[in-house]
Amino acid sequence: MTDQTEFAIGARRDWMGLLARAPDDTLMTLWDGIETRPSFDWLRRPEIGSVMVRGRTGGTGAPFNLGEMTVTRCSVVLQDGTVGHGYVQGRLKPKAEAAALIDAMMQTGAADEVQARLLDPLQQHMQAVKSTRAAKAAATKVEFFTLVRGED
């Protein structure tokens, strides 16, 4: 595999992961702001299902089945043959549709616009939420100090 395709896979993995993890309302609001949407045909209509989440014994050992999570998926094909896949957490079919269309548009000339108007603000919003939690956690870090040393 060339560096070029590895780079492309890495970028696609990033935006698909971002869309999967995105809060429903944030993504749908940003998606509503994209006026020019391509026409498409369904390759797979949105379907709700589950994925068995696995952990590892002791955090590092053999895999075990932890429990399932809900996932909605679908696939679209644009007029020019570009295929987009949506895999999103939860049971919101319009979100899976948006994710699949965004995935397809990111492989076309619309990529820059979608990146700037949807993926970048989404990424910033999710990063801000995450950073705020991390900052609150940091404020609960224990600072130990010595009361009495027993040398005397």
Partner: protein, 363 residues
């Protein structure tokens, strides 16, 4: 003879109508929204997701509302719904070392890298009822510190570097799945952990407590307890590579336990492991203690005959949906069964009475 009877449809219909009215409660009190349950009763939502074995906070909130707050009934609803979903596949094992930790404490290493991060804990509260909450819901402004950028390392890694704790060698074995095949004994550790993580919190807690009180005591320390979000990654066949399909909040507990060593292993620490959906630390610690107790055979320890060492006992009774199904079915109509028992007892009584009477006549 089996006698089929029919009836009660009207009674059942009316009972369900009344149930709906009672569920709603007084109509001059505002109705609960699912978002309120999800946001403000989040630990109940977490428990329903963990024992319902399906991570979906909105569904768990709906189940709690429908079940009038009866969490086992809510778990039942989630389990039933889960069976209707097609399964797309399984995730890659989650990387708990990459967790964005809200909380991370160690009872064994004060100065562990990453520090002791308390998070939003009930610990160190005075457990006094706060009547201010009854009056208003004002929240204080939460102080913020300087956020840690890098992932927080697992504490057991430090013991591992010194060779002082039993290793957990990585493998890519396919774990058994008790939702697909009935549990068989002896069960291996991955199956035991699956059973424990969806097991009843009260039952697992009771079993864990029994080990602390001396029934197969294994001297556990909480090496590490962490709560936070991890990404869930799955291989997507149509893409040919793995992507994140979401993220879940997990509680992970690793206990560090004394181990005298065996014929093949030097004295070292061993581990118990707990991993549970949501913020569920009582359950995660209890799971780790029970996991460790059930490992007696593979560690060459003695069977002390303690309940927590008996995997058939523990795993067969940990599931509250199985348990409640069997327990509660005895309240359903058993008229015919009971009629035959009634006949039997009457007959025995007649015979006993006859014996007494004939004895009295003889005297």
């Amino acid at each position: 003879m089996y006698v089929a009877v029919k009836g009660g449809e009207k009674a059942i219909e009316n009972a369900h109508a009344w149930l709906a009215e009672e569920r709603r409660g007084a109509t001059d009190v505002a109705e609960l929204s699912l978002a309120q349950i999800r946001e403000q009763l989040s630990l109940a939502v977490n428990r329903v997701m963990a024992e319902g074995s399906l991570y979906d906070p909105d569904l768990a909130a709906l189940a709690i509302k429908q079940a009038r707050g009866d969490l086992i009934e809510a778990i039942f609803l989630i389990r039933a719904y889960r069976t209707t979903l097609p399964r797309f596949g399984h995730s890659n094992p989650v990387e708990t070392g990459e967790m964005a930790c809200d909380r991370r404490i160690s009872a064994t290493f004060k100065d562990a890298p990453g520090g002791q991060v308390l998070g939003p804990t009930f610990d160190y509260t005075h457990r006094l009822l706060d009547f201010k909450l009854a009056a208003d819901g004002d929240v204080p402004k939460v102080p913020e510190g300087s956020a840690r950028q890098e992932p927080t390392p697992h504490i057991t890694e430090f013991l591992k570097d010194e060779g002082l704790i039993q290793d957990e060698p990585t493998s890519d074995d396919t774990p058994g799945d008790l939702t697909r095949e009935p549990m068989e004994f002896p069960a291996n550790r991955p199956l035991r952990l699956q059973s424990l993580t969806r097991g009843d919190e009260g039952f697992v807690l009771g079993m864990a407590y029994s080990t602390q009180r001396g029934y197969a005591r294994n001297h556990a320390f909480v090496g590490e307890l962490r709560i936070g979000k991890v990404a869930v990654e799955m291989d997507i066949p149509e893409l040919g590579f793995a992507i994140d399909i979401g993220e879940v909040e997990l509680t992970e507990c690793e206990t560090v336990n004394q181990f005298k060593g065996s014929k093949t292993e030097p004295p070292q620490f061993t581990r118990g492991y707990g991993l549970v959906f949501g913020q569920s630390e009582r359950k995660a610690i209890a799971m780790a203690l029970v996991d460790r107790a059930l490992r007696w055979k593979e560690l060459g320890e003695d069977n002390l005959g303690a309940p927590a060492q008996d995997e058939e006992f523990v795993l067969s009774h940990a599931d509250n949906i199985q348990a409640t199904g069997f327990l509660e079915h005895i309240k359903l109509p058993h008229y015919v069964d009971f009629q035959s028992e009634l006949e039997l007892v009457r007959k025995l009584r007649r015979e006993a009475d006859a014996r007494i009477t004939s004895k009295e006549v003889a005297e």
